[in-house]
């Protein structure tokens, strides 16, 4: 299925170029690729595609994160007692979250993955991941975890002033 993502890929390119076209018709091939996708058949019949690097990066990141979310979802089916940090794959920092937070992580990331794919833009996805990772780093520290997750009383807070140089 082809989505309208800013490139002209509402229809797949029917034209299949040969490897020699990369020399003889390079401008045409490049222009087709810039609009979405250029198909090329190598001399042994292998199909190749040429596409904007930005689109490739989005597809690569979306598929990688889709796979990662699958790992997290499988981990969530285990009880906390059965679970080890290795169950999170390369997202070991997720071990600092409880079940509710992990479910929220999966839900938010699924939404941002969809936006990244359809908008052809990884910014929201990368921001969301950075915020979740920053949160995990805060929760990894016991003192900060207690303040962030515990009840805070007005007596716990002290007023401070703008830092100034004191000579």
């Amino acid at each position: 299925m082809y989505q309208n993502i800013g490139y002209d890929v509402t229809m797949p390119s029917e034209m299949i170029y040969t490897v020699s076209d990369l020399s003889r018709r390079r401008r045409e091939v490049a222009d087709v690729a810039r609009r979405g996708l250029a198909r090329i058949r190598d001399t042994d019949g292998t199909g190749l595609v040429l596409m904007p690097a930005r689109r490739y990066e989005v597809l690569e990141a979306v598929s990688r994160w889709f796979d990662r979310l699958g790992v997290v979802e499988r981990t969530l089916t285990k009880s906390r007692a059965e679970r080890s940090f290795a169950d999170f794959g390369d997202l070991t920092w997720l071990r600092h979250f409880d079940e509710d937070d992990l479910a929220e992580f999966v839900s938010e990331l699924r939404q941002t993955l969809s936006l990244a794919y359809h908008d052809d833009d990884l910014a929201l996805l990368m921001d969301a991941v950075a915020d979740w990772k920053a949160t995990a780093e805060e929760l990894a520290d016991s003192a900060r975890r207690e303040v962030l997750l515990g009840a805070v009383d007005a007596a716990d807070l002290v007023e401070v002033s703008r830092p100034e140089r004191h000579w």
Partner: protein, 68 residues
């Protein structure tokens, strides 16, 4: 601006750790526009339970990265 008493010593040490200018930029941002993206450093909203307001009238918890 209010600081949790557990971290008051870190607040006092901030100018020495990141430089006076960075500490002042942090203060100015948090005091005047905590909900807006910082002009210089990265800000974000903590996620999950850690990001929820600590009490009525408070915003969600902002994470501000101070660098020197």
């Amino acid at each position: 601006m209010l600081v949790h008493r557990q971290f008051k010593h870190l607040w006092d040490a901030l100018p020495d750790r990141v430089g006076l200018q960075s500490a002042q930029q942090f203060y100015d941002h948090v005091a005047h526009a905590p909900g807006s993206p910082a002009a210089i450093n990265r800000t974000g909203v903590l996620r999950g339970k850690a990001g929820r307001p600590i009490a009525e009238g408070f915003s969600r918890t902002i994470h501000y990265e101070v660098s020197n």
